[in-house]
Amino acid sequence: MRILVTVKFTPDLQSQRSFTDGSVTRTADDGSMNELDENAVEAALQLVEAAGEGEVYALTVGGPDAVAAVRKALQLGAHHAIHVTDEEVAGADVFGTAKVLAAAIRKVHDETPLDLVITGMAALDGLTSMLPTALAADLGWAQLTLASELTVADGTATIVRHMPDAHETVSAALPALVSVTDEANKPRYPNFKLIMAARKAPVAQWSLADIGVDGASVGAIAARTTVVEAAPRPPREDRRVVTDTGEGGKVLADFLIERGLA
């Protein structure tokens, strides 16, 4: 079983995030791997462990800091790490990013075929959930997205998708792309041995030229959308916190009535 997991470097959720020139500001000291990608790494590791053989590749695209994301995947147990980094990737939209990831995946797949690509359900910094679909389309592979359950048997991957009105079971022949939700599993914690090993593990560094992608076709110029304004939301005004001393419920009710909400 050979599985590639795409991981994204995202700013720490608890830290202040911001925009600079239309892009999310990312710094190495307050970011790591997108939390939801931990579910993707976990799904891959579990499949390889169950198969008793196989390898997990972690792939990221991004600036120099982004290497932290694949290092995290190595700490969790991924066997190989690839970091695509190139100045021309800056400002890429979801379609540009998918194109770069797909080219890197093809390079791996052409050497030794992969069975699956697994992604997280969304990046918690952008949360658009569009990338898995765009990536599957670029690869020309089946898309099994938003999997709350994933099983692989006899060359077929089967997922359960929890939609608001129904639970769907969807299957496709391998190779396929699967995105997993945070319901799919409970990510493991890195163990000390792997943390130490991950520090020294090699990370392949690829440029756009290495994967045969023309920078002009993926970076800011090619982006179909541009952030033209970004500003922190003003804090709520007139906030009030009262302590219940026997009248808390009435205060709540009066507040709702006053605001015309009840």
């Binding site: 009105d165 969807v170 009840a262």
Partner: protein, 317 residues
């Protein structure tokens, strides 16, 4: 004139409320045409769509396979081939559909938008990001635009002089897909308004200790839907469909009441853009108070019954 295609969300054959909001927004961008995927729309649905501005209702059916993103995207593409702008409700499925349609047509996409307008011949959208702590305006550079609109971000309004929408059937043959829909198991729907569309959401977290009676009662009194934190759904106290947050349902009701919820960043990301936020929590240092318009520090088992009684009394008076 700009043609704006609106993908209709349905519930039991009727038009779901977010679509009326989307149609209302579509009118400000151009001429709305509705796209209805599924069994043929009834007279009531056609009237409803027409009243909110749809000039045409284009209907196509793909059966159960229409649940697959690729089939749905192909259907929408077939029905909206002349549209400059395509508007959908921002659901997980529609985000996938929007992505596939964009790949097909070269359109630019923004999902989770709170609004859209045309500026110098291009669509610009507004949305909140980073757990609703930032406002962002995005310009779609491409000629064609696809926008996913969040429920409750536009006030639905019928036309002053409602016109009838012309029904049209679009010939459509579903494409072969590498994905096979093996089975579809319907999930029982909670009564009342769905969470994502509710004007009021009352949520309970770990602080409820598994007893949702008070939360439900307050939701009933306020005409709202019941939400929950992930800890509560993980405990199995309430089904996953009720989970509010970044990986659950994102809600933007006029009123959000958080009961026994600490306000973790993952939870806040799914509710922080709500109109008014009220929190009841026993811990004065709970982060939820940082974003609440009114915070009541107290035991929800004391505060909620009193609030429910007071609201009922006010209503009776």
């Amino acid at each position: 004139m700009t043609t704006v295609a609106v993908l209709v969300e349905q519930r039991d054959g009727a038009v779901a409320r977010p679509t009326l909001e989307t149609l209302t927004l579509a009118r400000s961008l151009g001429t709305p045409v509705a796209v209805w995927i599924g069994a043929e729309p009834g007279a009531e649905a056609l009237a409803h769509l027409g009243a909110h501005g749809a000039t045409e209702v284009r209907h196509l059916d793909a059966g159960d396979a229409g649940r697959l993103p690729k089939v749905r995207a192909a259907a929408l593409g077939a029905a909206a081939s002349d549209a400059d702008v395509v508007l959908v409700t921002s659901t997980f499925l529609n985000k996938e559909v929007a992505t596939l349609l964009a790949l097909e047509t070269g359109a630019g996409v923004v999902v989770d938008a709170a609004g859209a307008e045309i500026v110098d011949g291009r669509v610009e959208t507004t949305q909140t990001v980073f757990a609703a702590t930032w406002n962002v305006r995005t310009r779609i550079n491409a000629e064609r635009a696809i926008v996913g609109l969040r429920p409750n971000t536009t006030q639905a309004a019928a036309l002053d002089e409602p016109a009838a929408a012309t029904p049209k059937t679009v010939i459509f043959e579903a494409p072969e897909t590498p994905e096979t829909l093996v089975s579809v198991e319907p999930v029982p729907q909670a009564e009342g308004v769905p969470l994502a569309e509710a004007p009021v959401v009352v949520s309970g977290g770990r602080g409820t200790n598994g007893d949702y009676a008070l939360v439900r009662e307050l939701a009933d009194v306020l005409g709202g839907a019941v939400g929950a934190s992930r800890d509560a759904t993980d405990e199995g106290w309430i089904s996953h469909e009720h989970m509010v947050g970044q990986t659950g349902t994102t809600v933007t009701p006029a009123l959000y009441v958080a009961c026994g919820i600490s306000g973790a960043v993952h939870h806040r990301g799914g509710m922080q853009a709500s109109g008014t936020i009220v929190a009841v929590n026993i811990d004065p240092d709970a982060p939820i108070f940082e974003i609440a318009d009114l915070g009541v520090v107290g035991d929800l088992n004391d505060v909620l019954p009193q609030a429910i009684a007071a609201l009922k009394e006010a209503r009776g008076a």
